[in-house]
Structure formats: C-alpha cells, structure tokens
Symmetry: C2
C-alpha cells in the first residue's frame, strides 16, 4: 500500500561556475537556481519559487521533467534533503545544516565533509522500518567534475559523464589537477580517506548521499539501497567502499549514460562490487517526434534528479504512458514537441550549445 520513496539530496557548489565545465554562457545566478527548480518540478510539476525552468537553449529539459513524468504515472514519495542549496525553494526539505560547496580549486571545497557524512548517516539510520528499500538520487550542478575530483583523489579509475553531447572531459581533468595541487594532493593520495578527498575536491552532495546510504544499510542489514545516477554515483560508491562499508550496493542509471560510458561504467561498478542496472525510457522508439526526446537521444542531459532510478520503478507496459506524460510535463514547462514555446526566464541570446542545467550528470 505504501509507495516507493526517492530521497533527493540537492545542492550547489562554486565549482559549477568554472568556465566551460558546466553552464558556461548561462548567467551564474540562473545556474544556482537549478537544483531548487529541479526539486520543485519533481514535487509540484513546475517551478514555484524558482525563477527559471532548467532547459537548454536546444530545448532539452532537465531530467527532473522525466522523473516527474514517472511520478505522475507510477507514484512515489519524495524526500528532498538540503545538501547545500543556494536559492530558496517551495519544496519542504530535510535540514542537516549543509552549506553550498566551494570551488575545488580552492584549498578546501567542503570544510565539514566528515561531519556532513555523520549527520546524513544519523538521518538514514533514523528512517523507520518499511523505509529500507530506498532510491537515492542527486541534483548538483558541476557534479561530474567533483565526481572526477574525488575518484582521482581516491586513486580509482576515472571516467565521468557529461550533460553535454561533447563531454569536456579534458577540461575537467585539468581543473581536477589544479584542484588537487591546491590541496597539496596528487592522484591516489586519499586512498581509504574519502572524507579528505571530498573536503579537498568534492561537493556537499557526495557525503550526504553516502551518509544516508550508510545509515540505512548499517541500521537495517536487510535494506536495499539504490544509488540513482551515473558517474556521480560511481564516486559515491567509491566513497562508501573507501570508508570500509562493504554492504551490497546498486547503481541504476540511464541508457544515455551507459551509451556514453560503455565498458568503463561496467568495469568501474564491478571494481567497486556494485551492481549496475541500466534503464531506457524508449525515447528513440516513441511514436511521435518530440524535440526533448530527440535531445536526450543526441546525448544531452543524459541523467540526473534520479532519472534512471525513477525509470526502474516503471513496469515495461507503462513506459509508453511515461513518455506521453513526459510530453505533458514538457508542455507545462513551455516546451512543445517542436521546441520551446517560451523560455521561462532564459536569455535566448546566450551560448547555444550549453544547457542551463549544468552537469546533471
């Protein structure tokens, strides 16, 4: 009788503002609104207090629109955790006292990484029986760059995805190299010290997701925790393993991340003893043309806001209904099947190949 639950830590970081890493060309004050707008779309079906709908100038809406479409068809409960939001949101949030992250090129990016993990652990452990099959997602602009940072610091094989069709991975690597140097670390220096890695080159959403997962797993041995996301969740799994947590873990992500990452994703998950599930919304097979689905198929956005995990809740027989509902959600957000009806606070003159939704994965 009770519904599944998706827990969604949502945060921001100054790292997202680095030129060319995420939403270069979109105004920084819009990017800071992205997680707040994402959770409003997930909770209400449209932005509320947030002044912007995260869509790219190409008409590719945030993955929150897909996750919301699943919610409208299948139903699930949502718990948003404030993991460093920079802007107000109308959505109720769990307050664990988490501040936005700093630029990883500073000497410290997340000063209280270990304390955030502890508080999130306490939160996960406090959830009652019946709340032990949980899906944890994320929304944090710049999150794949901080994922690369942490994986590099931990000495794990590093491959991360991007919300851009052309992944600026070399640029990210240069940023991470600079970030590690600023913290007096080189690759692998933080092996078995995951909170040092996050503190130096991570973001506040990472210890929040990891802490909730660890709290649930340690308080309920029979619990099942799904990390809903792509390479950002690989980084979280690595954090958990380097923290000595060997409970079963599963990563569920979208076919769009899997297509980009190929074997690398599978081998990363295998190395972390982490089951991998790939979900496909079937956008390529949809019976009508829709610009948003086309953009996803072209490699934009790919994942975020627990999109892959939400799709795993959809019975195959309902997937066409989810695609239809995605069209409805898009229309509500001002995106018609042939493109943007209105730009919802967007400057149409801004850079045309960078989505305002910065690095959902």
């Amino acid at each position: 009788m009770t519904q599944p639950r998706i827990i969604l830590p949502a945060g921001t970081t100054e790292t997202a503002l680095i030129d060319g890493i995420s939403a270069a060309g979109a105004a920084p004050e819009l990017m800071a609104h992205t997680p707040s707008a994402d959770v409003e779309i997930l909770e209400f079906g449209a932005p509320a207090r947030s002044p912007v709908t995260p869509v790219s100038p190409n008409g590719c809406p945030t993955p929150a629109a897909v996750t919301r479409a699943v919610r409208e068809v299948c139903g699930f409960d949502v718990t948003v955790v404030d993991a460093g939001l920079a802007k107000p949101t109308s959505v109720p949030t769990v307050d664990l006292g988490i501040e936005p992250g700093d630029d990883i090129r500073d000497s410290v990016a997340v000063p209280d990484a270990a304390a955030i993990f502890d508080r999130a652990h306490g939160y996960g452990a406090s959830l009652p029986d019946g709340e032990d099959d949980i899906v944890i997602g994320e929304t944090v602009p710049g999150g794949t760059t901080t994922a690369l940072g942490v994986l590099t610091a931990l000495g794990e094989p590093t491959s991360v995805s991007s919300s851009l069709p052309e992944n600026p991975v070399e640029r990210k690597r240069r940023v991470v190299d600079e970030a590690l140097a600023a913290s007096n670390f080189t690759a692998g220096d933080c092996e078995s010290a995951p909170f040092d890695a996050i503190r130096a080159v991570g973001d506040p959403v990472q210890p929040t997701v990891a802490g909730i997962a660890a709290g649930v797993l340690e308080s309920t041995p029979a619990a099942s925790v799904t990390l809903a996301g792509g390479t950002q969740m690989v980084a979280v799994a690595a954090i958990l393993r380097h923290a000595g947590i060997d409970a079963p873990l599963e990563i569920t992500t979208t076919s769009f991340v899997a297509a980009e990452q190929g074997e690398q994703l599978e081998s990363a998950c295998a190395a972390l003893d982490c089951e991998l599930t790939v979900t496909d919304p079937g956008f390529a097979d949809h019976e009508r043309e829709h610009v948003a689905m086309d953009r996803y198929c072209a490699g934009e956005a790919k994942e975020g806001v627990a999109m892959g995990g939400a799709l795993s809740l959809v019975p195959e027989s309902e997937m066409a209904a989810v695609r239809d509902q995605f069209e409805t959600v898009c229309r509500r957000l001002g995106i018609e099947s042939d493109g943007l009806a209105e730009r919802s606070g967007f400057d149409p003159g801004s850079d045309t190949d960078t989505p305002s939704r910065a690095e959902p994965e």
Copy 2:
C-alpha cells in the same frame, strides 16, 4: 494524474503545558514531540526520529494514524510546514523561520504574528498552477485553547472542541481570561486586528495556516482552499475574515467534532461565510471491534492532522478499506484491536484520562 495535496503546518506552544488544558500527566518533553511524531506517522507510517507515538493511555492513537490510513489507501502528497516545531523530525519541512509559541498568559504569545502571516502568504502565493485545490491542516498541542483565545479577542462567538471526552472548556475560558488580561485586552478588543489577537493569545500555527490560505486565494482567484480541522479552523477562518479576506472558504472536519459542537459549529461557520463539510470514517459501523475506533466514538481525539479533510478525499466505496488500513497502521504503532501492545515511550502509570496527544482539536 497528479495527487491531491495536504499542507500541514506543525508547531508547538508553551500554552500546551498549562495544567489541565491539554496533556496534564504526560511529561512535557513528550508533548513537545507530538507534532514531530505526527508528521512522521503521516509521512513514513511510523515515528522516525521522534521517541514517542502519540497515543493515549486508553489506547487512542493520534489522528495522524487515521490520516495516514487514508494516505495509504487513496494517496495524496504532503507538504509539512515548520510552524514552530520544538523537536527534530525526519520529515522534510518548509522553513519559514517560525519559532514555537509562548504561553498565552505571558503578555505576548507570538511576537511576530504579522510577519509569520506575510511569509506564509508569500509561500502560498509561490505555489504553481495545479496546486490551487489544497487542503490545509494543523498539528499543534494546546491548539483549541489558543483558538478560544483568538476567537474571544476577535469578539467572535466562542466554542471550542477538545481531544478529551470531557471538554475542560471552563478551565480554558479561565486561562483565556487570564491571558487577555496579561495583554491588556478584553473580549472583542482585537476586532479587525487579527494579528494583534494572535500576538497576544494565539499560536504560531494560526498565522501560518491563514497566510498560506490567503496567499493561494489571492494569487489564484479560482483556487479552492479547504481548512481541515474543527474549531481551530473556525479561529483561522475568523482571522482571515477579520483581515478583510472575503474569498470562499470551506472547513472540513470530522463527525466527532460535529457531534460535540452541534449547532454551534454550523452557526459559527455560517457567521463567517464558511462552508462546512462533515466527514465520518464510519468507526461505529466497523465490522470488528477495535479499541482505537471505540475511543474515537467515545469522543477522544476527535480531529487533528487534517483527519477530517483527508477523509473527504475518500470515496464512500473505499471507507471500509480505510478502516481496515487504520487497523494496520495501529498495529504498526503497537496498538492491537484490544489495546496497546507496547506503550512506545509512554509511562503507563500516568494519568489515565488524558491523552498524550494534547488537544489535537
């Protein structure tokens, strides 16, 4: 495709600690947990971070258990607003910066009543289209005493309900008289000045409910707002009318409040131009004996945590399923059909005729 939504401002006040008004005999630190536990039961089906399940020594569980049973059968979204919680909760909340209320016998009970209304108004106005048919409930121990206080200060006919089978209304009147005197007011002095009334003798949940209602109604003229509660919502309706808001209002409450209040409730609603709907869970007709249902039928608890409003979402054909599910929720809370299996933090030696859930209505 989207579900109905219940918005639940939850708060506490020192007024609840007055002897004989609410949970006399239960330890004060338990009573302060009641709203936090209520919202956890509503959101998770059981308490999480809260150390106590609000049930009376007679085995009468908090109305949150009924509202949760409706949710498990019919499904609705929940938005909890922190309207002055004193204890932590695992449930995500909207943070409007609201503190617990003071004792109404102090000169000031809610120092920033007007500012709370303004912030709540902004919140209500921020809700997007599609969120305009809302149900607003409450959970605040001592709430009927502060309702009596505000109604008296506004010069409205005063009759309030109680969670006790024997309503200690004369005791409440004496407290309110003392409270008004402490603020240098007499009955009717705050006519057309509802925030003065709340500031002097109200609680922080009142301006929160009123503000959200006003924000929704003023931003969306076609909106429909249901105030889910009994005489506490009569006080909120009076606050709105005295604030000059003449939009349509509806109060939905339970048959248990209606049975106690009789004509007085109808005439109070009529005087405030407020439609009244009474909902009946059919506990008297349930096919099996259940101590919790018996207690409600005997006049305990009666209303709270949007119970009456939640029941209004239930089609008549589903009401038996709600009762069955209520048995399931009770069992989860340690209440078997013939009584308490465990007392969940309760002192069984405490006063036997006063519920720990203090004054849900």
